[in-house]
């Protein structure tokens, strides 16, 4: 569904992505893992077209995304830090995005209800706490039933109850056969969710494995332990 072909990105002199390639397919739930500053968010932003890679190609359903925008109709994106126009209310932001998406089918308002956002519609974006902003981001990402969900640190800043709701929702969407890409540092959360792990370091994709394969290779019972094992090993190098 999404093919990343040898993309590189430099910000000034700093190389953030260094010839990364990967293939993500329908029905997979992919965890993008790696130390801080390894290029996870840049990779995600490249898929969304927010960052333009210096070299390489990204294909969405076999079509290059270069200068394209309609493919984003199929993507729901939850940013790490949601930034919204400050003087708009929650209701206005959601209406504006509905307006722009021009989506005609049934909206997926499950999170809107579970997070009780309907009671907050008149609140201005600048008055919201970080956690509430994250809830809005999550709601918007799931609202249009997209085929692909890209979640950048989805549970960071959410209270345990809200995080649990989000997790349930992610599992539900996974079962519908959607492609889900998650970055997270909370490894213990990923165990129930992911089917594949992509490990990045210094702008390169070090490996891309099935969770079973990963557990077997490291002889660890959970993904969290397997990843910490690998992180420790690379830190010693």
């Amino acid at each position: 569904m999404i093919a990343i072909q040898n993309i590189s990105k430099k910000f000034g002199k700093l190389t953030v992505l260094d010839g990364s390639s990967a293939q993500f397919n329908k029905g997979e739930c992919i965890a993008l893992i790696g130390p801080n500053g390894c290029g996870k968010t840049t990779l995600i932003k490249s898929i969304l077209g927010m960052v333009v890679p210096n070299t390489g190609n990204i294909l969405f359903n076999d079509v290059s995304i270069k200068n394209e925008f309609l493919y984003r109709n199929n993507i729901g994106y939850m940013p790490q830090i949601g930034r919204y126009p400050e003087n708009m209310s929650i209701g206005q932001v959601i209406d504006m995005i509905k307006n722009i998406r021009n989506y005609n089918s049934q909206l997926d308002e499950e999170l809107l209800d579970l997070y009780k956002i309907k009671d907050l519609l008149n609140k201005k974006m600048r008055t919201l706490s970080g956690g509430t902003t994250q809830k809005i981001s999550a709601t918007i990402a799931f609202l249009f039933n997209p085929d692909v969900l890209i979640l950048d640190e989805p549970t960071a800043g959410l209270d345990p109850l809200a995080a649990e709701i989000l997790k349930e929702k992610i599992i539900k969407e996974k079962q519908k056969g959607k492609l889900i890409i998650i970055t997270s540092h909370l490894l213990s959360e990923l165990d129930e969710l992911v089917t594949q792990v992509v490990f990045m370091q210094d702008g390169k994709i070090k490996f891309h494995k099935n969770t079973e394969e990963l557990k077997n290779d490291t002889q660890m019972p959970t993904i969290a332990k397997a990843i910490t094992h690998i992180l420790k090993a690379t830190a010693h190098e």
Binding site: K45, G49, M50, R72, P79, R83, P85, E86, N87, I97
Partner: protein
């Protein structure tokens, strides 16, 4: 596209700065025509005020507005919206609201006090000047990442076009007084949209004594009709080129 433009225009109308700008322009124009009996003199005074204030407000206000819209731009870029559409909508939205402010503030008194043909050309020149400096603001924003730097660049550009450029022209004239540089000066005049706008209005008013050196050469060279045509054309280029450049940069910008 229309939805985005509508959104920007509505957002601007709610903005108090644009109301203040309209009020400021209205106060200037009404007091100018209240003080002067002679409509032509009034128009000239207004022209000078207009060519100072309109570029300043257009460029600074637009720069700040674009930087403050960074969240909006971020949000839209991750949605299925073409990048050039976002940028163009911001540009058109800003232009519509600034033109509205100008027409309400300056246009109404002009239509009441000045001869109709002069009033109309003043209004159109004011609108073009607004658009030109909005376009320059977009270019400044596309070049710089940092808000304070962007505003700094905008202020410098305004200073250059409003004040420094005349100084440079005078300097060149004195330095090369012994050489036949008249025709080169025509080319140089085209490098300043404010001078072009001034010449365009003065051509309509038939007050060649006030044209200044470059203006006089310009009229002499082209004549009134072709002169009007050429200066309008150059002004349009001044609006299109900076915006086009900024659009190309924005399409490649990392957000």
């Amino acid at each position: 596209m229309n939805r985005l433009i509508k959104f920007v225009v509505l957002d601007m109308i709610k903005n108090r700065t644009i109301l203040g700008y309209t009020l400021l322009l209205a106060i200037f124009s009404w007091s100018v025509f209240g003080l002067e009996d002679n409509a032509t003199k009034g128009v000239l005074t207004l022209l000078n005020i207009m060519l100072l204030i309109v570029p300043l407000v257009s460029i600074i206000f637009s720069t700040i507005y674009i930087y403050n819209s960074s969240e909006f731009i971020d949000l839209m870029v991750s949605q299925p919206v073409k990048r050039s559409k976002i940028w163009t909508s911001l540009f058109i939205g800003l232009s519509i609201s600034q033109i509205l402010a100008f027409v309400v503030g300056v246009g109404i008194p002009l239509l009441l006090f000045a001869p109709i043909n002069i009033a109309l050309s003043m209004i159109s020149v004011g609108c073009i000047v607004s658009i030109i400096f909005i376009a320059i603001a977009f270019l400044a924003c596309a070049i710089t990442h940092d808000k304070s730097k962007g505003i700094g660049v905008s202020i410098m550009l305004w200073l250059y076009f409003a004040l420094l450029f005349d100084g440079l022209v005078l300097f060149l004239l004195f330095q090369f007084a012994d050489y036949p540089i008249e025709h080169i000066m025509i080319g140089i005049t085209m490098l300043s949209p404010i001078d072009m706008a001034r010449i365009l209005i003065l051509l309509q008013l038939n007050v060649s004594a006030l044209l200044g050196h470059t203006g006089a050469i310009f009229t002499d060279f082209f004549g009134t009709i072709i002169g009007t045509f050429i200066s309008t054309f150059v002004l349009c280029l001044w609006a299109i080129i900076p915006f086009y450049l900024s659009l190309r940069m924005f399409n490649k910008k990392d957000l």
